[in-house]
């Protein structure tokens, strides 16, 4: 692999890692709220979270470009704050990735939070645990499979994104050229051998990640069956 390809690998890992951390920070409270709320806003909030699942990445990318561009409200805000413009920067990629991968983190988390019986949290309350306390000592540990799934899917989906990245980040080596774009570049330049190296690597990586996830998240009774 060329030095440029290695840079793309490093950049992709950085982008996916940072995005996953941010998504867990943002997505966990959001998923918790969605799993417990009886608010009328819930269907609306759920739809917004799920939008990236159904919209073409180009649509999302287009509007993000407008929002973050020099005339967009987000763009004006970032300029006023002295951050500068986000499009075609690594920061812009992170923002876009967080939005684009949001449902992959929020939905598994929400499902595992919803699966926690109310009586477990009530038991914690009758054992003197304040709501914050029981969230960290009961809800999060019980939602562990969901947390794992959310992290892996958030990371893997960010590694795999292409359309949004191309529209927001472009193709600037060392700044926004991630793996998926690098593969595209190689194919366009008819460098099939280089494309293969990256593409096959990604297939192996995705396979490894998913197999690990399914093995770790196996229901307890299946795991016991395999061990005996």
């Amino acid at each position: 692999m060329t030095a440029e390809d290695w840079v793309a690998v490093r950049l992709t890992a950085q982008l996916a890692g940072l995005t996953t951390v941010l998504l867990l920070i943002v997505g966990t409270p959001l998923a918790w709220w969605l799993s417990r709320t009886r608010s009328r806003l819930k269907p609306f909030a759920s739809s917004v979270v799920a939008l990236p699942l159904v919209l073409p990445p180009s649509v999302l990318g287009f509007y993000l470009l407008l929002l973050m561009g020099p005339q967009g409200p987000v763009g004006q805000l970032t300029q006023a704050l002295g951050i500068g413009r986000l499009p075609f920067t690594f920061g812009g990629l992170v923002v876009a990735s967080v939005l684009y991968s949001l449902p992959f983190v929020v939905q598994p988390l929400q499902l595992s939070f919803e699966a926690i019986p109310a009586r477990a949290l009530e038991a914690a309350a009758t054992l003197r645990a304040a709501p914050w306390d029981s969230f960290f000592t009961v809800a999060l540990p019980l939602a562990r499979p969901g947390l794992l799934t959310a992290s892996v899917l958030g990371f893997a989906h960010t590694v795999g994104e292409f359309g949004v990245v191309l529209m927001i980040g472009g193709n600037i080596p060392d700044r926004t050229r991630v793996l998926s774009v690098a593969v595209y570049e190689h194919v366009e330049a008819i460098e099939f051998a280089d494309a293969h190296r990256l593409a096959a690597g990604m297939v192996v990586f995705a396979m490894l990640v998913l197999v690990t996830l399914y093995v770790v998240n196996r229901p307890a009774h299946e795991a016991r069956g395999a061990a005996s």
Partner: protein, 359 residues
């Protein structure tokens, strides 16, 4: 004194309860499914937001008049439900420590050993809840609640999810807890056998209302809406073993309140120990004179307190006060008429069978 004044309205259900409960012993909330007993218990715990007032002695947990509502996690209570909600991700020991480490200094300083010993769970401490039987789980749940040193223990049908064998396994531990700890317990149940065995005080509920409440023996001896025990009206009495007759294998049981002693088969309970008896109305007959020649071993002088129609139109239920003990007797209305029974009349109650309930 535990004083409750709670009201709650839902679309298809309303609860209205004003109660003063004794500060010791087990109080049973008893009634059919859907009568509101669980909702009342949850409202006491603060898990359900009802209107009104909850005070445990001098501690006010809720008082709408002063806009006071102490959240559940700041109420020094223990709560045990049907399916022990043990934390599956923690070992038994960590489950026990969960509440204790968050409770007052007294609970944190105290050793777990007495509670572990009381519930007989020493051999389970390293296990995970998933590997425990239903009865073991329930015992751990009770221990976990007790380890917080609660001032009130709330139990919501703690035995209902267990089969008869498991029930028999857990029940003695609840009785031990009852005799060894001076902890008030509010115990929700729809199983009268459990109530008759455990409770000291009984609250009858139906349709979200309190029908009546009082000491168990009085409540079981009510003529109006008698609480049927295994389909049979009968009384439950607390007594002390007075003496044991080795020759005839009998034991004399002195009923609380004095003036009433019953002979029953000796079950090997030492003199001085407390027992709970059950006397069914059908096992009690009434005579105006002492009977010199009869096989019935217990003839007690008493006084008729009231007479009521029984379920069958041919039968009457008569309440006789013998010393401190109320007894119910079931006879035909013809016999009652022939003997000329009336309230206030002195009679002899003949008790054929006295069943000892394990305590």
């Amino acid at each position: 004194m535990i004083s409750l004044e709670l009201a709650l309205a839902r679309r298809d259900f309303s609860l209205q309860a004003t109660l003063e409960l004794p500060p010791t012993g087990i109080t049973a909330l008893f009634g059919p499914s859907g009568c509101g007993k669980t909702t009342l218990l949850r409202a006491i715990a603060g898990l359900e937001r009802a209107c009104g007032r909850v005070a445990i002695g001098a501690q006010v947990w809720q008082d709408d008049a002063t806009a006071r509502f102490v959240p559940t996690h700041r109420r020094p209570l223990g709560y045990v439900i049907q399916e022990a909600a043990l934390f599956p991700h923690l070992s038994v020991r960590a489950n026990l420590d969960y509440g204790r480490s968050r409770s007052g200094a007294a609970a944190r300083a105290a050793s777990l050993d007495p509670v572990v010993e009381l519930l007989g769970i020493g051999h389970l401490l390293a296990r995970r809840p998933a590997t425990l039987s239903g009865g073991e789980r329930q015992r751990v749940a009770i221990a976990r609640a007790l380890a917080t040193r609660p001032q009130l223990l709330l139990m919501d049908e703690p035995l209902a999810a267990l089969d008869a064998r498991r029930k028999a396994e857990v029940l003695p531990y609840i009785e031990r807890m009852h005799t060894e700890l001076a902890l008030p317990v509010v115990y929700v149940s729809h199983a009268i056998e459990e109530v008759a065995q455990l409770a000291d005080h009984l609250v009858l509920m139906d349709g979200g209302r309190v029908l009546a409440d009082g000491p168990l023996s009085d409540m079981m001896a009510r003529l109006a809406q008698p609480v049927a025990l295994g389909g049979e009206a009968g009384v439950v009495l607390d007594a002390v073993v007075g003496e044991r007759d080795a020759e005839w294998q009998l034991a004399r049981l002195d009923v609380d309140g004095g003036g009433c002693s019953l002979w029953a088969r000796d079950h090997g309970v030492e003199p001085g120990r407390r027992v709970r008896l059950r006397v069914l109305a059908r096992d009690v007959s009434i005579a105006c004179e002492p009977q010199p020649a009869t096989s019935v071993g217990n003839q007690l002088r008493g006084c008729i307190e009231g007479i009521a129609d029984d379920e069958h139109p041919g039968l009457a239920l008569v309440r006789v006060r013998v010393g401190g003990a109320p007894l119910l007797a079931r006879l035909t209305r013809r016999s009652a008429q022939a003997l000329g029974l009336a309230a206030g009349m002195p009679v002899w109650a003949q008790v054929k069978t006295v069943a000892l309930m394990e305590r």
